[in-house]
Symmetry: D2
Subunit: 443 residues, 4 copies
């Protein structure tokens, strides 16, 4: 790829963007705190998505929601109707517009904002995720959200991975780009993705075709071991993953009077669990397996007739992940056979291995350096999984380039812990860096 020539205005633009970001800082903190206070799980991000859509419209973006940006047949791990309904009502009670909610009925909480400059040019996209986690937030004094009064109002739910910050930064980028619209060519797509946790939201958004025309695609994550003030143009090491929802169905019986008449679903789940963790390591690549939750049985003196497990496997390469998933299914089926119970295994999410395009990484890195930002040139290595890989892969399959960048943030404790918190001082600089990269790629 030949380096594209640069307009002379790039350093001016960088300055403008920095100024805009500085002014935005208080607002981004406010947005983040509001979202932090109202965490919403996958496919129930009604209030969050409504806020995003509202703001994007105000800024002049064309806003797409509903099945148009989330292919119905590709949604994974959608909660049951009652759960959706409750979340819907909660959002309504919190003052969300009934019209916006109507557009998301059934859990279609993905939002895409499109800013078409009207001038020919590339299509660039930024993806941020918006969902929270089923973690009970800490109430301790030292936990800043508790101390400053913006901790989760929804018991048992928490923004413990920084997606509140991602959403705030995404809206900051929107604001900056809206301001600069007249100086840009091409089209910007801001993708606000639901259900990143569990790897559920990227697949249906990818299948909606919404990123099929994207030339340059950025994903972003805050923290992940990178300190405040530092940015990485590429993150590597994400494992591919498969999520399985497992339900064993047996037959209840009185544990004293006729245990032999039961078919023990709890025992099947226990055996499946011990065997799942024992799936062989692979020399073909790193693997993971976890039974995150197990719920079984109805009473102490009853042979349990039902058991459910949330399972996930991961792998450093797609074939390794496939190996793990295939072994997991066999292990689960074997446990069911041994206990003579039925079992249902539902695919509930998946992510692929992520790969960042080297030339795009270099372009982003160089641009940030020119803008005076503190960049680590080496890819930041992490583990875990991130379904942004699915969107990136879609872009790459259609000839576009993609990378996943890290915005550093000092963290009091690790991701997915009850005392997780971000350094709010990085929200505006993060939005600035992302805007700089997008603007560079547009031109």
């Amino acid at each position: 790829m030949t380096k594209m020539s640069r307009r002379t205005s790039s350093s001016d633009l960088h300055e403008k963007i920095r100024d805009l970001a500085v002014k935005l800082a208080p607002e981004l903190t406010a947005i983040r705190r509001d979202l932090h206070r109202h965490p919403e799980l996958a496919w129930t991000e009604f209030r969050t998505a409504a806020i995003v859509a509202q703001r994007l419209e105000e800024l002049g973006f064309e806003v797409l929601t509903g099945p148009e940006v989330c292919s119905p047949e590709h949604r994974l791990g959608v909660p049951d109707d009652e759960t959706l309904e409750q979340a819907h009502r909660r959002a309504l009670d919190a003052g969300t517009s009934p019209e916006r909610l109507a557009a998301m009925r059934g859990g279609y909480t993905g939002v895409v904002g499109i800013l078409d400059t009207g001038r020919p040019g590339p299509v660039v996209a930024l993806r941020v995720d918006i969902d929270a986690l089923p973690i009970e937030e800490a109430g301790e004094e030292e936990h800043r959200p508790a101390q400053e009064g913006f901790s989760s109002a929804h018991r048992g739910l928490m923004h413990a991975c920084g997606h509140d910050a991602h959403t705030a930064m995404g809206l900051g980028v929107a604001q900056i780009l809206a301001h600069l619209k007249e100086e840009l060519s091409g089209t910007v797509k801001l993708v606000f993705q639901p259900g990143e946790e569990g790897g559920r939201g990227a697949l249906p958004m990818a299948h909606s075709g919404i990123v099929d025309d994207v030339d340059h695609f950025l994903g972003v994550h805050i923290g992940m071991g990178v300190p405040s003030g530092v940015i990485h143009p590429a993150v590597t090491g994400f494992l591919a993953s498969r999520k399985l929802d497992v339900s064993f169905s047996g037959r209840a019986a009185h544990a004293g009077a006729g245990p032999q008449e039961g078919r023990n679903a709890l025992l099947a789940a226990a055996h499946a669990t011990t065997a799942l963790y024992g799936i062989s390591r692979s020399s073909a690549g790193d693997t993971r397996v976890n039974v995150g939750t197990l719920h079984a049985g109805s009473g102490r003196n009853v042979i349990a007739d039902s058991a459910t497990m949330l399972v996930e496997v991961r792998g450093a390469a797609d074939e390794v992940t496939e190996y793990m998933a295939s072994r997991a299914r066999k292990v689960i089926e074997g446990a069911a056979l041994a206990q003579e119970v039925d079992v249902e295994i539902v695919a509930a999410g998946s992510t692929t291995v992520m790969s960042c395009d080297e030339q795009l990484v270099r372009t982003v890195e160089e641009t940030w350096r020119q803008a005076g930002l503190t960049v680590e040139p080496e890819p930041h290595r992490v583990t875990g999984s991130e379904d942004c890989s699915v969107l990136m892969s879609r872009v790459q399959q259609r000839g576009g380039a993609a990378t996943y960048v890290a915005v550093g943030s000092d963290l009091p404790t690790g991701h997915h812990t009850r005392t997780f918190d971000v350094d709010e001082g990085v929200l505006a600089p993060g939005a600035q860096a992302l805007a700089i990269a997008l603007v560079r790629l547009l031109n």
Copy 2:
């Protein structure tokens, strides 16, 4: 066995009792249906106990409740404060008198009604249990409570073992005896015991001393495989049991990014489960073991830091039960050690082996025969456990005699199933049989 002499009035009394019972039939059905509609779990039988106490007082019984009849330090498996509070409020909302509720605050839901004839004579006691089960009642048309509109109003709770019928029969007996008071000598104690399920209520009632002066003690159960119209003067085969509440505490970690930093409580519970069922059978007597429920973990991609299990073991003799309990503890501790998690094992209930006194059994049998009832002379053999054994054992240790009788009832499906129901036609005859036996033992 020397036959005791009989007053000439016994056949007259039998006739009176039968007539009273016949008249009571509609009321007993009504009581049973009201209770069926409002099932309450162990230590939260606020509404039930209040109704019982109210009725006993109206009938002239001295009524004891609270810690006086439930030794505080011997209560097992008491729910947490919040659960107690909710149940309390539910009973209040349902119109239960605040004064009665105040006397039961903290879950002291045992009630004892005492009828002292003022004439010297033996102390005889009848014990019925009053608690329900955590089972979701069937909604199908063929299930009579659903069809006739008295199925459980409390979702997930159900009288699925007939304790509603026991309570109704107990109140029927109270009414009959109150009527006959002037013709009787000695003292009657009617013991309405909470928390039979899980073996939680008998121990504290026994330790309160309330049955220490009892000469003749009857426990009763409906159904259990005996058809409508038949009664058994003795039930045998109950296994002794021990209930254990087990909590594993580990350390959470991200299942992808750092699983090795976790300490997996779910995995410990799974291993404990597989090993618990594998505790060796014993040639010293029949045994049982069950992990009735297992709940673990907070999210799919988190190493589970907590797991709880409701466990029970049983044995045909107390030393066999002790063997099972001791092995269970070791197995659980071993699983915790292996996964490097902490574990807490709380004794949550226990029953002893039940034994019925032969002479009392013969007396009851003969009395029933003389009264023209259809009696099966052979002990009815069951399995399962029943903490009435604890009260019986207390009586027996102090020189009294005890038996546990069965009132037959055709059943659509087995005990502890969601379509369980009793034949209401046996409530009045059951009360009649119990009253006849008590009256005989008083004289």
Copy 3:
């Protein structure tokens, strides 16, 4: 029960038998010690059977061996050719006649001696078992066989259940009856059964038809908790059993370089084991399960491609045993499926529940009493399994009667232990008691 008339000679006969037995005592001890020194496992009792056959012929019995008394298609758990060959050679080296060995080639080590008095009368049979166990005998000074120089010459094998004593008593009975032949009517069959351990020998002998004409059948065991000097006319409590030989076949792989390419047979066996012990207890009757041996794998750093287990289940009733066997198969198949290995499950033995005919028991008891022996009238209750039940059942199905008697013996330690030994002082009295019973039944 109608008393059968008696010849006047019965007390004379009893006296004769006692005298014969007293004289036989030293010889029986010598036989027992010789057999103790040369223990042989199921289907390899070549030397033992040859000695038995030789002795019976000398005493005038017609002797049957080979497939005639052991139905080929019903033999279970026959060792492989190499093992048979080695045992064969060992017997040859120990001086066993080649002709006798030829008749037993392939492990047909059952021997039946028939004494036809030539006078019409009933057919009575006595069955003794002749095989040893794979137990390493103790070398300690306090162990009498070690001290007196007759402990096992075959490393790893031992008569640790008293079958050496049974065989000696059986030959003692043969000698007594041969002596009395002219005073008897009817026919005597002495059945020397191989392979009792593991329940392997009775089934093919039963299917050979050799006991089909038997009117009265006795089995016998020494010890079992009955003290020296006491005999029981009936033993009860034996559990039915099923023996399973299980072989898992997987795929080897280097445990470091490519573990994922392996299919782990050892892990399958481990999971099967944990699940086998966890098969539910049954309220329909006592059960047992055991994985007695497990051998798996070839080297530390290789994923094990093979694993074998010797498994047995037992039950207090045939349907309970069937339940256990059926569950065991499912559990094993489930473990194989889970680890994606193949498994072969071979039925390697079975015993049925034993039942002794009450009238025969009473006759034997009374006869013994009349002969002045110390008899316990109550059935002796044991647990464990005994395939004599299969022969007894065959006799009973064809209208004959059967019982299984106990000859008491003080024991230093329990059956199947490495310091097991019998009280040799009971051999002659045991033979006497058995002979008395058989003679009574003949007349």
Copy 4:
């Protein structure tokens, strides 16, 4: 890296070495076949070591054996006396000199040959391993050793990893260097190490101090995925490992008559196995775990009182390996506690992570290129473990440099399989390459 100057004779030397190697080819094949026919396991390589020592002495090497080159207190996994004795006798029967055997009594089978040129210069060392594996060699026609009559004469043992070829190449190098002695300076040490399999032999040789003065150290392996004709100057990816010998001791009991009196060692081993494979993966580096063999129990109807397992864990870094070993111990101890059996865990071998010194790698690579050999410059990446790492680490800690090189060989099937075989055509070229490298490093 500064290029070191070279003597002008290097290309002459290379030619001489090649000529010598060509002539040696038939002899090396003969040696390899002789060793292949007589495989010997760790610490019993009596015949092999005697052949090596004899040959080295004939070539003028100073030869060290016995505790002098194998620190007694650091030997791991030494077989029991009986096994040692049998192997000793087998070697004696095969014609090994009694004097040589005497020097190795107790399993001191390490041999070091020292060639001191008498001229000042560096100390260079080559290490080859000499032990075989407990694998039953294939008898199929297609397996060349079977076809050409040199397959293993020792049933159940086999050179299935090419150590026979290593030993042959090592003796070829000895011969070449002995020839060139007058043209060299410095000292050569040829280290023939026993017990590489299981990681048992390197540690005691390292602790003997025999490599403490080595400046340049080479280890070598044949095959490992590298084709015939290609050599690699460095191999990477070996995992560190820890070997554990585990013995559970319980209490035997009759499985029918009193299973509850047993303490089940087999069941403990089964639970330990299922939990060992389930030790958490680590994000800190690749891991492995294997239970390679499990042997438990004495008879089908006995609760097993003993069980032994050969276990190994591996890790991509020493702290990861330590984590695995620590977790393995806890898991095993937990299983013992749960089954109330005793357990002994013996450290039976260990390897560290291997690291090759870059400058030495470059020197070797360049030398080989100059000699016209086909070299792959990139390190050859493998998995598995190799205790040569322990010797290399010892050299490196004392300031020397080390690398581990691969001599390619086409293989019919993978290492550690029963049809493993090497391409004998690479033995002489392998010796040539090793000699060239050593000569270069001496000068």
